[in-house]
Symmetry: C2
Amino acid sequence: MSYEFAERGSTEEVEEGRALAPKFDADGLVTCVTTDATTGGVLMVAHMNAEALARTIESGEAWYYSRSRRRLWRKGESSGHVQRVTEMRVDCDQDAVWIKVEQEGPGACHTGRRSCFYRAVPLGTAPSRSLVLELREGEKAFDPHAVYGAETK
Amino acid sequence: MSYEFAERGSTEEVEEGRALAPKFDADGLVTCVTTDATTGGVLMVAHMNAEALARTIESGEAWYYSRSRRRLWRKGESSGHVQRVTEMRVDCDQDAVWIKVEQEGPGACHTGRRSCFYRAVPLGTAPSRSLVLELREGEKAFDPHAVYGAETK
C-alpha cells in the first residue's frame, strides 16, 4: 500500500496544526490506546509502526505492530476478534493515538478476557511484596487455548 | 520513600497472578493511560518510572516521569491541575497501567485543552500529505502561558 505522513514541523505546527505528523520512537513505533466504543473502558495498549497506522486509517480496522513477534499484526487475524475503529484521535505531540473500537467477539486480551486491564492495584500504601492485585472483570470470556492454539498474543 | 515490586516470574505468574511485577522497558518506564473518571475519555498517555508508579500508588495522586525533562513529575506541580486517582489497573503483561482520575482544574494537556487528544484522524483513505485532522473538543480550557509561564508540559 502507498501512504505518506507529514514531516514533523515546529512544536507549534505539531501541536496546533492539522497535519498528521506522527512522532515514531527509536523503534519506529507510536503508542496506541484502544478503548471500547460501547463501554468506554480501555481494552488494550499496544504499538503501531507507520504501516500499521496507515493500514488502520485506510481500512478502519485495527492493525498493530507486535514487538515480541516483530511483525505487523491485524487484530483478530488468529482469533477472529477483529476491532472496527469508530474514531481515531492523535495526541498533542503526536506520539500516541487513541482508537475507539467495536470489538468483535468476546474479548481483546490474549488471556481470554474482554480487556487486558483485569486487575486493580490497591492504593494508599507504598507497594511492597505483600501487595495483592484485585480481580476486576477477570472472568475469562473465551478459552485462549481454543482460540489461539499454541500461539499466544 | 521505600517501596518494592515483585520479581518478574513466569508468563503464567505475571498474567494470572496477584503480585505487582511491572515490566519496565530499557529506559525503566511503563506506559500510563490516564482517563477521566467522570467522562471516561482518555486525557493523556504518559510514562512512569518505578518511583513515579510507587508514589502514585502510595499517594493516590498521579506522578509521572517526563522523558523530555528526564525527571520525576507530580502532575499539577506547576499548573495546580492535580489528578486524584480513583482506580489503577495493570495490564496482562504488566508493562502498562491505566489510571482513572478526577482532574483538578480545567484540563490535563499542556496546550490548554482538557485532553491531549483534541484532534481526530479521518478514516477510510490511506494517509497522505493532504490529510486534515479534525478538531474535537479543541477549545482551550485555559491559557497555557498564564498557567505554565515559559515552561511547557
